[in-house]
Every structure is written in C-alpha cells, then in structure tokens.
Amino acid sequence: MFWDFGNIDQNSTALIDDSTGEETSYGRLKSKCDKISGNIISDSKRLLFSFCDNSAQSIITYLAALRSGNAVFLANTRMDSDLKKSLIEIYKPEIIFSIDELPDILPEYSRHNDDDDFAFYLRKENHELVRLHPDLSVLLSTSGTTGSPKLVKLSYQNIQANAESIAEYLNIANDEKPITSLPMSYSFGLSVINSHLLMGAKILCSNKSMVMREFWNTFSQHNCTSFSGVPYNYQMLKRLKFDKMNLPSLRSMTQAGGRLSEEFIKYFYDTAVSKGIKFFVMYGQTEATARISYVPFERLSDKIGSIGIPIPNGEIKIISDKEEVTTPTVQGELVYYGKNVMMGYAENRLDLSLGNEMKGILHTGDLAFKDSEGFCYITGRMKRFIKLFGLRVNLDDVEKMLENRFNCAAACYGTDDSLKVLLHSNGIDISETAKRTIIETYKLHHSVISVKCVDSIPVTSSGKKDYRLLQEKE
C-alpha cells in the first residue's frame, strides 16, 4: 500500500513545502505520521475530518489517518463555515483536524495541540456513534466547497488500485516532481499525490495559484516535472500563451475534470510536441476514486475529442437496454468495471457502517460510443448535470432549489462552461435576486450564470420542460 512507503529509499525526499521550504524524507514522513497516529488511535476505527489545503502538513495528516486505520473525510479548508458545521453535525467525526483555526463553534469538541503545536479537536461523547465499516478509507465530496452532504466512500483497495493504474499508464518514476496544482480534497488532486507517493517520487506541496507568477516561479525554482488541471486551467494557460512560457523542467501535463474543447486539445498537443513533453487527456469520476480512462499521448493527434481507453486493470462497456453494445460507433451508457469503483455513497453516519454496495461496477450516467479501436467518445449525459470549473452541478437540484425559494417554475440548462436559468415569475423580474442566490448557494462565479425571467417555459408534447429546445436555441 502506498501509505506503507515499503520499497522506497527512506532518505529520499517525499514532500517539499513551498511556503516553509521544509523538505520531508520518506523516513521522516513515516515518523511524523506515526506521531499523529499516537494521538488518534483507539480500539475502534474512528472518523476524522481534515479541513485541508495543499500544505505538507495536510498531506501528512491524511497519510497518518490511512496508516492508523481510521477513515478520513478530506474537505477544502475554504469551505463555508456553516457547511463545515452542518457536515460535522451529520457525520459526527470523532476527530477534526483543520489547517486553519476553526472558529469557536464546536461545543461537542475539545481543542488539543500536538507536539508540533498543530491543533486538533476531539469529540467529547463517542459511545453512541455508529461503527465504521473496516474497509472505509477516504470520503470525498463530489461538489467541492458547495452544498451537498452526499459523500463518496472509498476503500483502501480503491485508492491503492487507482494509484497503481495511474502510475502505470503515466509511467511515473521516482525522479518525478509534480506540483500540487489542484486541491487535495478534489479526487483528481488527490490521485496525483497518491500515485506519486506510490512510486517514491517527490511532491512539491503548494497552495499557489496557476494564475499568479509565484506559482510559476516555484515551479521553475524546484524544477517541477508536471502539473494537472481542469478545463478552465487550460483555458487560462492558453490565454497566458503557454507555448511561449519557458519551463525547461516540465515533462508532462494532465487534464481531466470535464471536456476540453478540441481547439484547446490541438493547441496543447502541438505545444507539447514542440516542447518535447507529454499531454494526457483523461476522464474519470470521484465515484471511480478518480481515473477511468486516458488517451495515450502517442495516439492523441488522431484521437482528439476522445476520452481514450480504460486505465490498466479497468474495463469499459457501452450498455444499451441492459445489453453490451459491441458494434463500433453505436451509443449507450458508459459503464466502468474496476477495483477503483467506490463502495457507495454516504448521506449520514449510518451509511458509513455499510460495506461495498457497488461490486466494482459504475454506471457513469455518461452516454458514449467506442470507435473500431476501442477509444471512447462521450456524446452526452443521461442525468442532467454540468461541470463548472471541474465541479459537478446538478441542474435538477438547482431547479428545485429555485422553485422552492421563489415559488415559481424554473428551467436550468447549459454546458460545461455556463449555467442558464429561465424563471417563470409572473411578470416580476427577480433575475438578479435569483442569480445572487445561485452564486451564494453553489459558490460559482457570476460570469458563468445567466438568469432570465420569461412569460413561459417551453414544454414538450408530454408536458415536460423541453430542455432540448432550450439547448438548441443557444
């Protein structure tokens, strides 16, 4: 398991924290984790919450949770404090770690300091809590810093299997040095950490943003070899004229978290070729720990628009009417089979006691077809959600929320870079208030939301909202 640091040279560097400059070797990492474990281990498995960023300390806390056999929910420290509170109420973690001081809002918890002066919180009353399933290792949110208390439950086998597959197809060796360009509380960001620790590589732990010069200075100073991004990171990189940026240590870059348009894929492919580096277009879901498929770089030029082939040890079938489609180019639901398929979802503490409900099969809800060489292409979605900035926004949820809040009919539709809303508000223009509500509830940037008040919302002959018509009108 990658958190054992088994066959790795204990003197080699594991983590470099870019804000403190501190380097932690694999041997030192082990002893730091075990010191934390000493504070959190008990006779039964416990639930930890870690409100984390991308500091070395946050990664150490995560690894300490894995090594001590406790389960850990990784949540972004930037999450809204009311949401933090409500998640704590729902899941009742025995232990909370937080990289930022938690405001004094937790009467059920007492604050403690470890020897390194790092604060953690212990729940005072534990005896009534539901026991956790022994396989449970990590909990992740699918909606980032926003709303839903629904979490993805991952097992030890899930995170290990996905790390192994990723390390294999990206050909990760111990001389790699990725920079943490995505939050570790996001499945894609976490997969970068896991797969590199597995291979004994070095990780540059940074909270800096790709839109700021400091990020690129850090990248160059430390001779980092790779970064990862969701589509909007790549849109920004093109705006920054990535082809003209001088990054001699860069070897590869990976993209997932939503569809990157073909124009952008071509630009980054050409740039990668001219710089002599690799660019990986990939696809996945948090429900599959992170990764499901990838496009081998040497095939990218003739497979632009494809999400590629399944990761090593995974399998993809296209299913239509409960039968596998074996004819190329015929569409069906993309169903993934592999050891990285989650145990199931959790919506409360009780769900954490359940074992594997998925049995290694994930119905992704994406419609796709395979070409004659087995490369998959996504054509649409069965469920109504869009991905904004790599995070999933369920259109039906937004719709329901608006209808309840404003007591009027709403229709939400859109693409992976914009959310469109129509409100049938009986002649009163509430578009600004509604927009504000969406921004606050889902923590979205206003530029991707458009709200219009209309006299009627188009319906189909069967009386359902006609989303296809709305989409076509765009």
Binding site: S209, M210, V211, M212, R213, W216, Y232, N233, Q235, M236, R239, L240, K241, K244, M245, F389, I439, H445, H446, S447
Partner: protein, 78 residues
Amino acid sequence: MENLEKLKKAFSESLEIPPEDINDALSYGNKSWDSVAHLALVASVETEFDIMLASDDVIDMSSFLKAKEILGKYGISF
C-alpha cells in the same frame, strides 16, 4: 470617466465587490478574487481600457495597486 473610476468599475464588476471597498491593498486571494475571478478581471480590464494585456502582466496583476502600475506601461495614468 476617470481612469481610476474605470479601473474600480472593472474590479467591482468582475470580483463583485462594491467600488467603495476597492483600495490599493485589495489583492489576489482576498474576498472573491480567486483564479476563476482573475480571468474575468483580466477580460474586464482589457475591455474597459481597450487594451490586450501581455501574459507577464496577467500573472503579475496580483493587487489593485499592481494593476495601476501595470496599466501605466500601456500609457494609462492614475
């Protein structure tokens, strides 16, 4: 419109901060100024002043004060 007001307008609209809360100390990471808002801010500054910012200036525009300095290079004075 005065250049200062124009710049405040660009900041105010893209970061969704009232113009009266915008001062030299406002920097990246404050309030709603994250990586997504940064792209919107750059576009908004470019539209407001009808210029095209160089890549170096995009990643250097880390505060309101810095934005004024950068715009100086484009002949816009404050």
